[in-house]
Subunit: 314 residues, 2 copies
């Protein structure tokens, strides 16, 4: 990495992965103010909500309203998570630019999380792709392979299983397949190996990395993924989030610390760190009493710090 | 990295770097019980104290007693930090196997920390080497280049300065030159570049890495250092420590999280993680009320976790 590096795209997932994991329900106005501040800081893709029944996740009940607001922000790519066809219908009707469908490589986790076998998940995926193809041809669909680095229920997840499901999901017609370390089990050697295999199998359809920081390995895994050529990283402001169905598995990698890592390495992100820390205050104001994580906000930028030169990835 | 990797040596610096940075003074008995537990977990090198005037660092007043106890533990390499010739005399007389002399690449930091210019530090180093050569020929001397990745006083520290001082320190007769990220300013690209240059200049006399986690980048920097071929890492149980003269610069990388990172990657450390977490209880008992850091102790080992195979570095 140096100052001529191609940059990366950071996809902020706090408004979805973060907010669905905390018990406090952030008001719609507070969500919109936070998203505005994130966009001002230079975030170009934000997963703003999850389209699931409000009885299951009341924190996400206003997803369509939040999408409508986010669509007014110029240049922002608005993403949402959908667990099934019904959620996809709502998200696509709301006008999102991208939907992510989680798919657990661990079948026990899939059954616990969305009560579906792998076969049922492939049917769901094909149905979502058919809907998109028929009515929303410009909208991108990503399959996010959860438990790709291990599972709290199954334990070790064989790498061949990850690749097999990645290839089959791509054959269902999704545009991109990303890998998620749902349980925070991943290590840098595994990350590098698995993303390289994913790229060999899927080429440009190999997607980004979604790491949890459960065991403190999140940014170490980012370095390995960068070495493998990954150019899209999910992160969550203040590190809020984590999968509610994986016990003990809390904490996304912290957007602030990730941006600092990348910019310091000479990898442009397009994000202004001071504005990003200002956005953190919006988050804190909207979630009074909830713990936020991260180091950079407390330590500040190094004396003499320089941003990377060049353009971030699109 | 894979299961055939050469392992690494983790040098536990908590009893020195950690304890000198907290205001609580741990009793000699508690220090010895903690060091026993660390050795039981498989730590093979422990920096057990600092030989400085007790008026400056009362936490280290019992360094000679702690060294005497640590020397009774079979197979343990007992290290100490010494800021000057006088400290070296005491440490060598106490019977340590290794002394580390910190040397700030940033001259403003050197003046603030030990009130010495670079020229005065080189004189001190030469005097310490002369003492060792005359009376303790088997004892190893490492120069630990602090502020090697940036300084809270000077800001950017040119890489050429680091290399120049590393070469000159080696010419003074030290056995090894390590690099310390005193301020927590380092990034993985810089770490990889600087350790590679150090190895090119010094060959086998290129020493290990001492990273602080001030901005959450510690383990990311470890991955980069591993890529550069570094095989010795300082770490502190519970992440206690940091340089008291660099404002805001607190927190060593956490030994527990580092061992998990390495073993999960297939890099053998020789350390038993459950015993290491047991040692953490000794630390907590000896420092009531002090915050400890880290993730692995709370999250536990992954289901189905396997240790690396092979032998750790000596």
């Amino acid at each position: 990495m140096n100052s001529d590096s191609t940059g990366v795209l950071i996809s902020e997932v706090g408004p979805r992965d973060g907010l669905q994991s905390v018990t406090t329900i952030m008001s719609t106005a507070a969500k919109c103010a936070w998203i505005d501040a994130l966009a001002r800081a230079g975030l170009r893709e934000i997963e703003v909500g999850s389209f699931v029944p409000a009885t299951l996740l009341p924190q996400m009940a206003d997803a369509a309203q939040v999408v409508a607001h986010a669509l007014t922000l110029p240049g922002l790519r608005v993403a949402a998570l959908v667990p099934n066809r019904r959620g996809a219908e709502s998200a696509l009707a709301a006008g999102v630019h991208k939907i992510t469908v989680p798919f657990s490589v661990s079948e026990p986790h899939s059954l616990a999380n969305v009560r579906k076998t792998h076969a049922q998940m492939f049917d769901e995926l094909a149905s979502i792709v058919a809907l998109r193809d028929a009515r929303y041809p410009d909208i991108e669909i990503e399959a996010g392979l959860s438990t790709a680095f291990g599972c709290t229920l199954q334990g070790v997840v064989p790498e061949d299983d990850v690749l097999r499901i990645a290839v089959a999901a791509r054959q269902c017609g999704v545009d991109e397949v990303g890998l998620s370390d749902t349980a925070g089990y991943g290590n840098p050697a595994q990350v590098k190996r698995l993303f390289r295999r994913l790229q060999q199998e899927l080429g440009a359809a190999a997607g980004g990395a979604h790491f949890h920081n459960t065991r403190g390995q999140g940014l170490a895994n980012v370095v390995a993924a960068l070495n493998a050529g990954v150019t899209t990283f999910d992160a969550s402001q203040g590190g809020i989030g984590g999968c509610p169905y994986a016990p003990g598995a809390t904490g996304n990698i912290v957007t602030e610390d990730l941006v600092f890592l990348l910019e310091a390495m000479g990898v442009p992100t397009g994000i202004d760190i001071e504005q990003l820390i200002a956005a953190r205050e919006r988050l804190a104001a909207g979630l009074p009493g909830e713990p936020l994580y991260g180091y950079l906000n407390a330590a500040g930028l190094p004396k003499g710090f320089s941003y990377a030169t060049g353009q971030p990835a699109q």
